[in-house]
């Protein structure tokens, strides 16, 4: 016999023995038998054969036995659904038991038996238990609703349990409230769009009251739920914060971190100049520090979260560097996390202390930790410029220790320091070269080779060094091979005389003997460059490299925002959005911080991004000039020619075909009718600006665009139509996107400059080429502060129309040059002609009549617009928003005739007649007659159809 009678059970023969015992008359024997069954179940043995016998034991008044049988049932009911039904009666009976503990036990267990047939029987008892007089039963029933929902969501909805659950939020017992909140939150997660957790100020108030009274776990449920609420204004957000802050003193770290989450989120809404904002910031630091005296596992979770918090709000912990110093017996995972935070907090003020610590760490035993410490020294150098010299000397000291992995790591970081501060610390190269032989890791070898190649002119025996690496070329990893190839080419360009042989050797090794495509391609490129144009080769290979930036490991801002909303959860531990590790519908909703002035994606740009996909420069084919004028690539139905070929190389053809039948007016009016229902809009609101796919536009987007550019000028809606004019790839990391708009009579070019490079950009300036309407910047480009890496800046450039004029093809094409400290970049864009319509374009009625007749027929064009859903009045008022004025209206034979005028900035008048056939909302044909006058010599007849077309819109 073994020491543990329940765990000594072996196999089949015993099943029979157990069967006999289970059917014994003696209670004690029965109980012991069930215990044995459970024990074997636990260790993974199959005891499902005993199902009927165990269920027979269920009808007992012995609670312990009952619990054991229930435990067995939960485990095996699923494999024996028919047998499980046998137990239902007892469950239902138990739900009526006078003892609340038994009622709760029964309803709890029933929820755990995940068999469809049983759920039907569960509904009635559950309904009763949800309204039970005893809070213990109610709180158990609340969780049971979530269980049932997990098995059969439809049933829960049909039975109206959700409403009952909502009512429990107002329960008098705090624990019932907490469990109801937990259950509702879970159910709501699988119905992202339902308004299940209808959080309004009243419910929030109830939750905050319950928060003071319930158990620590209940407080966590409530705080996590609160974090999903978005307060209406800063006052509400402040009052919630005030009621949540006491939780920061709770002994349970989860309560503290969940409270931190609520505060971090709601703080976004508080104005920064508010006294309370400062107080709150101060209050956050001590509890976060206290978390570091918790158990190591909790410290780890806390540190991962602090890492996020210091990225979002570095000011909170900037004075707390010391608490992140590593202790000798911290577990390794805590040590590594602490290092990360030390680097984040490193600043000029504390760098001396940090460096001293890091140097200590570099002598420890754990290899990973030591490596990270060495790497951290390098990152300090890059982050705090004043410390660079000190860091380099520390690294040299470490190299002197000759500990293999320390040396290698040090060389890797010194390479980065060279890239950040070129021509400053090259004196150390000699020391580095001494350690060439000890390098056995690819990364270190690659770094060393890079250094040798980059500074080949200063290293006398650079060719020998590189040659020594070349000997084992085939055994090296790709990283090293690529680096070696580049380094030797650099060397050759710097010292062409002595190294010809070497370069030929490496080129042939790379191109002929290697089967790595990357290596071969790079080899061929160099080979051709060198053989065709050595000067060009020099320019390419020895080009000045951009400096590397200090914070390359920062979490991308939108992800960071999302993670801040998930403080305390697994997402914050993994630093990944929940969708990356959670399957199914749960967790796919992306949470965001509430908007504020400082937030990177205000609703304005967020939505604009969604509709940003119109072609930046489409050159229309003949006959399609109409569409072009509208900045739409739409072919009028009358045109039989092929769709225009996009010059940008984007795949716009499909869109042209699809959008062919559409017209700006259609788009405008149609979408005016059901704004927000279009897929483009829906997608637009959630997506970050940069994430838009290039081939996005659905057929309606053309119409949308037009609506927005019309609307933008009058403020019907704030949505604007943003294009990427200059992609970052073409402009050494500078990305320019923007839009044209007419605001209060001033034409503006509204641009967002985004720096996607590693180095800072400054000295921006802008110039236009001569263009059709004489557009020119009315002032210099107002970019006063340098734009750091991953920063973006928004500028509005007012435009005048007094610049030099030259007819462009297409007419609304504008060529722009932008200069910054890196280079000059060119791009072309097209502006919507509507922005040229001036406010005083309303012609006197009499004058209109007279002029209309005077205009020769040659100056007239006609178009048809299909699928317009607005009546003439609505159309008229919409058009007025774009300075297209309705002079008169008449009704002839059921058709509305609108007479309209508009004036361009250069004084050209355009008159239009718009015929709307009423009574057919789905298919209205409008015929437009357009006449124009007052042409001056500088605008050719090309303008006319353009202007007319705009008039139609």
């Amino acid at each position: 016999m073994c020491d543990f009678p329940f765990f000594s059970l072996v196999c089949t023969g015993e099943i029979f023995e157990l069967k006999a015992e289970l059917n014994s008359d003696k209670k004690e024997k029965k109980k012991e038998a069930v215990k044995k069954v459970i024990a074997s179940m636990t260790v993974g043995k199959d005891v499902s054969a005993l199902f009927p016998d165990v269920v027979n034991c269920m009808q007992t008044d012995n609670l312990e036995l009952k619990k054991l049988v229930y435990l067995y049932l939960m485990n095996y009911a699923k494999s024996q659904p028919d047998m499980a039904i046998m137990a239902v009666n007892t469950f239902v009976k138990d739900c009526e038991d006078p003892n609340p503990l038994i009622r709760a036990l029964a309803v709890r267990t029933m929820g755990c038996i995940r068999v469809d047939k049983i759920t039907e029987y569960l509904c009635e008892p559950l309904r009763k238990c949800l309204k039970d007089e005893d809070p213990y039963v109610r709180k158990t029933a609340a969780v049971c609703v979530a269980k049932l929902h997990d098995i059969n969501a439809q049933l829960v909805e049909d039975q109206g349990f959700l409403d009952t659950l909502k009512d429990l939020i107002s329960d008098s017992n705090p624990m019932v409230v907490a469990n109801a909140v937990a259950a509702l939150s879970e159910i709501a997660e699988s119905h992202p769009n339902s308004n299940l957790l209808d959080l309004n100020p009243q419910t929030i108030n109830k939750l905050l009251t319950a928060l003071n009274e319930c158990t620590e776990w209940g407080q966590i449920f409530i705080l996590d739920c609160l974090a999903n609420y978005t307060p209406r204004d800063d006052r509400e957000s402040q009052s919630i914060c005030e009621r949540v802050t006491p939780r920061l003193s709770h002994a349970n770290s989860a309560v503290v971190l969940s409270a931190v989450k609520v505060l971090m989120k709601f703080m976004e809404m508080l104005p920064k100049d508010l006294d309370y904002y400062g107080t709150l910031l101060k209050k956050l630091a001590p509890p976060l520090v206290t978390l570091l005296s918790a158990e190591p596992e909790l410290q780890y979770v806390a540190l991962r979260n602090i890492n996020l918090i210091v990225q979002r709000r570095p000011e909170i912990l900037k004075h707390e560097m010391k608490v992140f110093f590593v202790k000798y017996n911290d577990p390794i995972y805590v040590k590594l996390e602490k290092l990360d935070i030390m680097i984040r907090l490193a600043s000029q003020a504390n760098i001396a202390q940090v460096l001293a610590e890091l140097k200590e760490y570099a002598t420890e035993v754990d290899v990973d930790f030591v490596r990270k410490a060495v790497r951290a020294i390098g990152r300090c150098a890059i982050k705090v410029e004043q410390s660079a010299e000190r860091c380099v000397s520390t690294l040299l000291d470490l190299i002197q220790t000759k500990v293999n992995y320390v040396v290698q790591e040090a060389i890797v970081v010194i390479k980065d320091i060279f890239r950040k501060y070129p021509n400053k610390y090259e004196s150390v190269i000699a020391t580095l070269c001494e350690n060439l032989d000890s390098l056995d890791e690819p990364e270190a070898r690659a770094a060393m080779i890079w250094i040798v190649g980059e500074y080949a002119e200063r290293i006398d025996n650079a060719d020998e060094l590189l040659e020594s690496f070349l000997e084992g070329f085939h055994d090296e990893s790709t990283q090293v091979q690529l680096q070696l190839l580049t380094a030797i080419v650099k060397l050759f360009l710097k010292k062409p005389t002595e190294t010809q042989e070497l370069v030929q050797q490496v080129l042939s090794l790379a191109t002929q003997d290697s089967d790595n495509p990357d290596l071969r391609d790079r080899g061929y490129i160099y080979w051709r460059l060198l053989s065709t144009d050595p000067v060009a080769a020099k320019e390419v290979v020895l080009a000045e490299k951009p400096l590397i930036s200090e914070e390359t490991d920062l979490i991308e801002p939108t992800l960071l925002e999302e993670l801040i909303c998930h403080i305390g959860t697994l997402a914050s531990v993994y630093h990944k959005p929940p969708s990356a590790f959670v399957e199914g519908s749960r967790g796919v909703q992306h949470k965001r911080l509430p908007g504020s002035a400082g937030s990177a994606d205000s609703p304005d740009t967020g939505s604009a991004a969604g509709v940003s996909e119109a072609p930046p420069a489409v050159i229309p084919s003949q006959g399609d000039l109409l569409g072009d004028l509208l900045n739409l690539d739409l072919t009028p139905p009358t045109t039989s020619g092929p769709p225009p070929a996009p010059s940008s190389g984007m795949q716009m053809g499909a869109m042209d075909l699809l959008g062919g039948g559409l017209d700006s007016l259609v788009g405008l009016l149609h979408l005016g009718g059901d704004l927000g229902g279009s897929p483009a809009m829906g997608a637009g609101f959630g997506a970050p600006p940069t994430a838009m796919p290039a081939s996005f536009p659905p057929p309606v987007s053309g119409g949308l665009d037009d609506l927005f550019d019309l609307g933008g000028s009058v403020g019907i809606t704030d949505l604007v139509y943003v294009q990427i004019w200059l992609p970052a790839m073409k402009a050494k990391g500078l990305e320019i996107s923007g839009t044209f708009a007419r605001r209060a009579g001033v034409i503006q070019m509204e641009m967002t400059l985004t720096n996607k490079a590693m180095s800072i950009m400054t000295d921006f300036a802008i110039q236009f080429n001569r263009n059709s309407f004489g557009l020119a910047p009315a002032g210099p480009l107002q970019v006063l502060t340098p734009v750091g890496p991953n920063q973006s800046i928004e500028v509005a450039l007012p435009l005048s129309t007094v610049g030099p004029v030259m007819k462009m093809e297409p007419l609304t094409n504008l060529q722009v040059a932008v200069k910054n400290n890196i280079d000059v970049f060119y791009f072309s864009s097209q502006y919507p002609i509507s922005m040229l319509f001036v406010e005083d374009g309303k012609m006197e009625r009499q004058v209109f009549l007279a002029t209309w007749k005077d205009i020769p027929n040659d100056n007239e064009a006609q178009f048809q617009i299909k699928d317009c859903h607005l009546n003439s009045d609505a159309a008229s008022s919409k058009l007025q928003g774009s300075n297209v004025f309705t002079i008169a209206k008449r009704t002839v034979e059921g058709q509305d005739m609108l007479y309209q005028s508009m004036k361009l900035t250069n004084g050209i008048w355009v008159l239009a007649e718009l015929r709307v056939q009423a009574g057919n909302p789905n298919y209205t044909v409008s015929t437009v007659h357009v006449r124009y006058i007052g042409l001056t010599g500088l605008v050719s007849s090309d303008l006319l159809p353009h202007a007319d077309r705009r008039a139609a819109a």
């Binding site: 158990t140 002994a251 005296s293």
Partner: protein, 459 residues
């Protein structure tokens, strides 16, 4: 929420497994090794086994040291804590509150130890029915429920629920306690003698440079209380918290402020047992509560300012050639001479290539422990304002190891009968309006113990 909870022994055998949700173990979790089991499990149990096995193979049997307490294996997350040889693992497939899961695992350990003492394989095996019962009660569908042992013990006992059927009043009393506002205390507690014990336990942490400069120092303290009080007593606890004293000083006479101002201490942060009314602390900074019965931790706090460092360690290390090291360490006690420090231990690390050590010390006993690579110097008692010294000659074996000896810090352990933070208990008032005993009738005991935390001096 938590999908399942497993308890393993050090070999990776499952002692307890409780699955709350089906999702765990369903997808993708395949153990790299075949399942070692003598009987072939049926498919259903097999699914659950997958999660169990994945953790065993990837964490418990992993070749390398565990690099994180949270492991993600095939989109399933495992949280684990270890108590002696026992692993507790919580499993989930959702984005759960990670802090809560760990807090729960610790709580689970506390509850188990409160029921059957040390968490060992033997105890877990002998109490598995109890553990299942507890798990059923304190974790429902993965949501932690009331886990206060005081409350749990009223209806989950070692033998199972009390065999005699409780009366109706008793039942509703149990349920209202478990779910109620004061879930940590039951009504109707009676003691003949109302008594309470307060222990202020502090651990003082120090990192000092060889030159005697304080690199970092902090005290983390706990106020632990044993209360044997009748009824539902309302308590108020007061200490020499600077903020409170300053506030009172403004209101009351300036004389008192001047008198007590010196002794007040600045508390960086404190956390409280859930019985303390946090909103009241936040608004008035007063600590009021209805205590649980028996042992519990009332509060934890942390201070960093004006810490009394009970000992100062002055190291002197001299390398004499390549094969000899001379070490001299002086310790000075820095507190009232009437007080006695106890259990003093100084640990002086020695290089790995030490071949022999000669020791001379004025007081206590010193020994070179080759297995620990350290000289351990023990002194039973030492009064305040004294100093003592040890000198050692360490002989080294010549090595050709280029790496220099890292010189780990000299660490120290001790126990002193005062609070190094300077914290003083000013009062603990007890009110019980319903029963007729007053604050004066309660016998109160206060004790201060200061211990060394990580108390290191670099050399």
């Amino acid at each position: 929420m938590i999908g399942g909870l497993f308890i393993y022994n050090h070999k990776g055998e499952v002692l307890i497994s409780r699955v709350y949700r089906d999702d765990i173990g369903e997808a993708g979790l395949k153990a790299e090794q075949p399942i070692i089991s003598r009987s072939v499990p049926k498919p259903v149990s097999c699914l659950k086994r997958n999660a169990v096995d994945a953790f065993r193979v990837n964490v418990i049997h992993a070749r390398q040291q565990v690099r994180s307490p949270v492991t993600n294996i095939a989109r399933t997350s495992f949280f684990h804590v270890k108590r002696s040889n026992i692993w507790l693992a919580a499993v989930t497939k959702q984005n759960v509150n990670a802090t809560m899961v760990f807090e729960f695992l610790y709580k689970m350990c506390d509850v188990m130890s409160a029921y059957f003492g040390k968490i060992s394989e033997e105890n877990v095996k002998n109490n598995f029915v109890l553990i299942y019962e507890l798990l059923d009660e304190i974790l429902d569908f993965g949501y932690p429920q009331n886990s206060e042992t005081g409350a749990l013990k009223t209806f989950i006992t070692q033998q199972g629920i009390k065999s005699q059927v409780p009366t109706k009043e008793e039942q509703s009393q149990i349920t209202s306690q478990v779910t109620g506002q004061i879930g940590w205390r039951r009504e109707g507690i009676k003691y003949r003698r109302n008594e309470l014990f307060l222990d202020v336990l502090e651990s003082v942490n120090l990192l000092m440079s060889p030159q005697g400069q304080v690199l970092s120092a902090h005290v983390s303290g706990r106020v632990v209380m044993k209360s044997y009080l009748s009824g539902m007593p309302e308590c108020k606890f007061g200490m020499n918290d600077k903020i409170v004293i300053d506030k009172q000083g403004k209101g009351g006479g300036s004389e008192e402020a001047a008198k007590s101002g010196k002794q007040s201490i600045a508390i960086d942060d404190c956390t409280f047992h859930q019985c303390v009314r946090l909103s009241k602390f936040d608004s008035e900074r007063s600590i009021s509560f209805i205590p649980p019965d028996g042992d519990y931790e009332l509060m934890r706090y942390r201070t960093t300012k004006d810490i009394i460092l009970p000992f100062r360690v002055i190291p002197l290390v001299r390398e004499v050639g390549r094969t000899k090291l001379e070490v001299k360490v002086v310790i000075k006690s820095n507190f009232k001479s009437s007080l006695l420090a106890q259990k003093i231990e100084v640990r002086i690390p020695t290089p790995l290539n030490t071949s022999g050590v000669q020791l001379i010390c004025m007081k206590g006993k010193a020994k070179y422990k080759a297995s620990e690579n350290a000289i351990v110097w023990k002194i039973k008692r030492m009064a305040g304002m004294k100093e003592s010294q040890i000198s050692a000659e360490i002989e080294l074996l010549p090595t050709n190891d280029k790496k220099k000896w890292a010189r780990p810090p000299i660490s120290m352990n001790f126990e002193v009968p005062f609070a190094p933070s300077g914290l003083k208990v000013r009062y603990l008032k007890v009110f019980e309006p319903k029963l007729n005993y007053s604050d004066h009738d309660v016998i109160k005991w206060v004790r201060y113990i200061g211990r060394s935390g990580i108390y290191e001096t670099r050399c």
